[in-house]
């Protein structure tokens, strides 16, 4: 353990209001920590730059999954286990419940939160492609009030978000409009469990009469942020699902992504596997 506990502050104000007031008083000074599955790893490695932390674990305002007619609202403090176990999410948002089951181990799923994962903003995070594809909206809270923003475009760069220094994610809203879509999710990691993804694909497609009515494909670990394959979606919309489209989609996807060589894998592999997974997705549509 490469950090000294005495050098850190950790406060637990106990309510969302108190937390956002603290963030407002000293913006950028306090790092929120939920389940700690990212922050505590950095802390133990001695690489956590923050010294003052505010606990948002178990804040009642961040918990709970509400189902309304138009959307499912997931408290940002919900754990991956809670998300996995929710019936409506499993039925209507299977890309997210699959991703929840792939994130770390059960012990880490019991502590890791959706909000924490979004804020940690790793391009390899398993749930983020699903949020892109579902076009989730984020409810953000601060002392200045609340705002609601689309998740698409929120992740602005490598580990960068459109989150103001005094803001917290309060909830993630998923619109209930994907009945009739084919869902495809696949994660490729170094082993079957407890693996950071090398490539992670989440996709939805709607086909009518053999023609692609709508398609959304998002990929993790192939760019500085999780990526919607906008160009690939464009070449697919309105087209017949056949082997020519498969080839075109794969080629376009290969151009859109920006994979790198890193400690886990290499660009060539990531590109090839992305293409294969896109092809596999199309296979499900056709």
């Amino acid at each position: 353990m490469r950090s000294h506990p005495a050098e850190y502050e950790l406060v637990a104000p106990g309510s969302l209001h108190a937390v956002v007031m603290l963030l407002a008083q000293e913006p950028g000074e306090w790092l929120p920590i939920a389940g700690g599955t990212d922050v505590m790893v950095q802390y133990a490695a001695g690489t956590l730059s923050a010294r003052r932390l505010v606990s948002i674990w178990n804040l009642p305002e961040l918990r709970g999954i509400e189902v309304s007619a138009v959307e499912v609202r997931i408290g940002a403090g919900c754990s991956y286990s809670e998300i996995r176990g929710h019936e409506v999410i499993a039925q209507e948002f299977s890309l997210l419940s699959s991703a929840a089951g792939w994130t770390g181990s059960i012990a880490n799923q019991n502590r890791g939160t959706l909000g924490g994962n979004i804020v940690n903003a790793s391009p390899a995070a398993d749930s983020l492609p699903a949020l892109l594809v579902y076009e989730a909206e984020l409810m953000l809270a601060s002392a200045r009030g609340e705002r609601r923003v689309p998740y698409v475009g929120f992740h602005t760069g490598y580990k960068k978000l459109g989150l103001a220094p005094d803001e917290l994610i309060r909830a993630v809203c998923l619109p209930r409009r994907y009945a009739g879509y084919v869902a495809y999710a696949r994660k490729v990691g170094a082993r079957n469990a407890q693996a950071i993804s090398k490539v992670c694909v989440a996709a939805l497609g709607k086909v009518a009469g053999g023609v692609v009515e709508d398609v959304r494909i998002a990929v993790g670990s192939v760019a500085p942020t999780p990526l919607r394959l906008v160009e690939t979606e464009l070449v697919m919309r309105g087209q017949r699902v056949d082997s020519a489209l498969k080839g075109l989609a794969r080629k376009t996807a290969a151009r859109e992504i920006q994979p790198i060589d890193d400690i886990r894998s290499n660009a060539g592999y990531r590109a090839a596997v992305t293409g294969n997974l896109v092809g596999e997705f199309l296979g499900r549509l056709g």
Partner: protein, 162 residues
């Protein structure tokens, strides 16, 4: 407890006993258990939440105690390996591990048994796949998992979790 400067009092239940510790809020639950409470059954294998040898139950849920700051344990109910046996009587999982060779060097064993008890509390009749998945967060270098899985299956047959 809300002050972050210096150590403070944190109260929680461990293995059914109310405890109060004086600790820095960012001390890891793992370290508080081992060094302050003398419960050295919970081990540190990696410090990064990968090996599971620090597994404990927190409010009935399996967590890696190396990743839990003790401040967040306030008011919680923690169960460690020491809380499983009832005096001289071993928990059925412990007994099964002994009979089926589930423990070799033993360092992963406490976390593995805690994880198995968590699994059986959620799934009293787990399939082979359920057991594999339930234990996938606990690394064992000695056994190849074969006899661990068999021990857990045996414990399930004997009615643990029901």
């Amino acid at each position: 407890m809300s002050a972050g400067q210096g150590p403070g009092e944190i109260q929680f239940t461990v293995n059914g006993e109310a405890r109060s510790v004086r600790a820095y809020p960012m001390e890891r639950l793992l370290d508080v258990l081992r060094h302050q409470l003398g419960l050295t059954g919970t081990k540190e294998g990696c410090g990064e939440g990968e090996c599971g040898s620090c597994s404990v139950l927190m409010d009935g849920k399996l967590v890696n105690s190396c990743l839990v700051p003790v401040l967040q344990v306030e008011g919680a109910n923690v169960v460690t390996i020491e809380g499983l046996a009832q005096g001289a009587e071993l928990h059925a999982l412990q007994q099964a591990f002994l009979e089926w060779g589930g423990a070799q060097c033993g360092i992963c064993t406490p976390g593995m048994i805690v994880a198995a008890s968590h699994l059986l509390s959620r799934k009293a009749a787990p399939t082979l796949e359920d057991i594999r998945e339930g234990l996938a967060g606990n690394l064992c270098r000695c056994t190849g998992y074969i006899q661990i899985i068999e021990a857990v299956a045996e414990a399930a047959r004997r009615g643990v979790g029901r």
